[in-house]
């Protein structure tokens, strides 16, 4: 059974590139273009990992993270924050809200992102 990754990101071009990269590595990818859909899919589809952008419509990434951690059904899902925000206060806020890894989009290549995902699965 391939691992299921939920990618919550509003930018369509990024959604396409990252999802295709993850699919090419053998993962199943669920796509959500806003925070509300993301939260709903996290509850109904029970993914193995969530890749979460912070500036997204309807609910921000921080709100999604807080709700995921509040719900006993989703609080143990590993979350990788994938964002353009790089201020220390945002990193601290996301990590203290329960994110496992914090990645700034501009600092990583596709291979490195894939590696971080594999690390999260301890593959």
């Amino acid at each position: 059974m391939p691992k299921k990754i939920l990618f919550i990101e509003d930018e369509a071009s990024l959604q396409k590139t990252i999802s295709d990269t993850l699919k090419s590595a053998g993962y199943d990818v669920l796509q959500a273009l806003d925070g509300e859909i993301g939260l709903r899919l996290a509850q109904t589809e029970k993914p193995d990992l969530i890749l979460l952008d912070l500036i997204i419509p309807r609910k921000t990434g921080f709100e999604v993270l807080a709700e995921l951690k509040k719900n006993p059904e989703t609080n143990d899902l590993p979350v990788i924050v994938f964002t353009n925000l790089e201020a220390l206060k945002d990193v601290e806020r996301a990590l203290s809200a329960g994110a496992d890894t914090y990645l700034v989009k501009a600092n990583y290549t596709l291979d490195e992102i894939l590696m971080k995902v594999k690390q999260a699965f301890r593959e």
Binding site: T17, I55, P57, A106
Partner: protein, 319 residues
Amino acid sequence: MPEQRSIARYINPLYSCRKYGVPIWQCPQFLFVIMGMVILVAIIATWLLANSKISDPFIVNLIVLAVGAVLMILSFIITNSFERLAEASRMKTEFIAVISHQLRAPLTNLRFSLDFLLSGRSSQVKTDPKEYFTILQENTKRMGDLVDSLLMISKLESGNFPLEKKEVSLEQITTNLITKNKSFTEASKARIILAIQPELGKVLADPFWLEQVVSNLLDNAIRYSRGGGQIDITLQQKKNRIFFAIKDQGVGIPKDEQKFIFEKFFRSTNALGKQTDGSGLGLHIVKKFVKLLGGKIWFESTEGKGTTFYFTLPIIKKL
């Protein structure tokens, strides 16, 4: 308590200097303290000198008072201009930070797409490489648009912006733009109702830039009406001015954010919730142009109900 802390911060020159990020000798607040000391010393020195030369105490006091007043006015002018310089420097730093952030998003998209195409992964997943070329094309355009807007702002702020002034029909510009945006309007499920007062006068303006103003306002109205809604555009003539109004039933602007709406790079939280790829430059440019064309711009907005933008332009008087 917080109020006391902010007063203490206000009178503490070192705290204010950190805010501007300039060396202490270029910091307006610190220079103000130094100026105060110089004034005190100068007044005492004048008093001592005048006292030793002039016997009438009234004249001595008058001289000291005059010297003090002149020094005070001078120091006020100097520190005031320093403060404006420091503020401009702070804004420039902020400007660069925001620009880098805005350019970074499309750049990252370009880099990821090129990475993907070059990695050969496209053969492993059923994807059409054409889609990636579209991503490259869209993001290049996004960067180009941002650079164009920045150049325009820079020209506008430096004050050397050549404007061609000729007789223009605002009615014609508006009608053309509505036609041009037909598919975007339909895709957003919006409906445009245009009401034009008959025999509307012409305005004296640069047609290209006037089109940019209307285009920006129309684009915003359609963009934030996504999901349906009526857009009413009204063109009226009152005395020697043309009134343009565009009313949408979109997300509206939260009350506490309304005062920032024409500021460079400002994006309403409601706008961010609907559309995250705007640059926050459109309305800033629109306001600058309307002013340059001799008009006024303002708006009314209720969160959740919609926004109406108005602008006026002087019409050409018929002889």
